[in-house]
Symmetry: C2
DNA sequence: TATCGTTATATCTTTACAAATATAACGATT
DNA sequence: AATCGTTATATTTGTAAAGATATAACGATA
């Protein structure tokens, strides 16, 4: 069996984590469901954890990533800003590029 | 303050972790001290944890990474094999290349 | 065969983090 | 003003990882 190089990347701002793979996944689920609680449910994580993540995302980012509304029709909801949508697209792109880059480097290990 | 992209890479073999930053640091300390217990002490981690790490490294690698000797003059010791030395060199090289690659990608986020 | 400092291993304790639970606040709609 | 499903928040409980402690095994040396 041969070696594999794995990686995790994340974006920080002011020493605080803004985006990682888990947060991106959560943002995508919010985009699909229109609600933080539904997004948490589909990802099988507690509402509290999901809320903490989104709170941290919005506190770390330079511009709002989600708009959360409380009360009103349907009880409220959450949706991504245009900035948020752009962020997850770029994150995925960089992450994929990183994987491809690391795959290229794999030979250096197997040839030892 | 501006964004930063951070990363962790690690090498796996058969779904088991072979090398990560912590393990590389430990291997370097073994190389410098000639002993697993001394290496653990300098890195401020318990001997048990250090031993578990090295055990996992050697079980995951295709060829031995350290030679551990018990008993004898000085009580024994641990040293890196040539393969182990080569591995940590290559790991550091790939890791640094990855950082540089990610730094190049940073503009895509800042320009949003 | 007694000594030494190391590797090897088991067991218990503590602690930090995740999970579960409960409840308050919100505001458009009726 | 009563209702609804959501966001927001505090408090408690459970669990797994980390840490501490203890001890066995090892083998060259003297």
């Amino acid at each position: 069996m041969s070696y594999k190089i794995k990686s995790r990347i994340w974006i920080e701002c002011n020493e605080h984590v803004l985006l990682g793979e888990g947060r991106v996944q959560l943002l995508k689920a919010i985009d699909e469901t229109g609600s933080l609680s539904k997004a948490a449910k589909t990802l099988n994580l507690s509402y509290k954890k999901a809320w903490n993540l989104i709170d941290s995302v919005n506190k770390s980012a330079k511009k709002p990533v989600t708009i959360n509304s409380t009360g009103g029709k349907g009880g409220g909801g959450a949706e991504l800003t245009e900035y948020g949508k752009a962020l997850i697209l770029v994150f995925d792109e960089i992450n994929q590029n990183c994987w491809e880059f690391l795959d290229q480097q794999l030979g250096k290990i197997e040839d030892l």
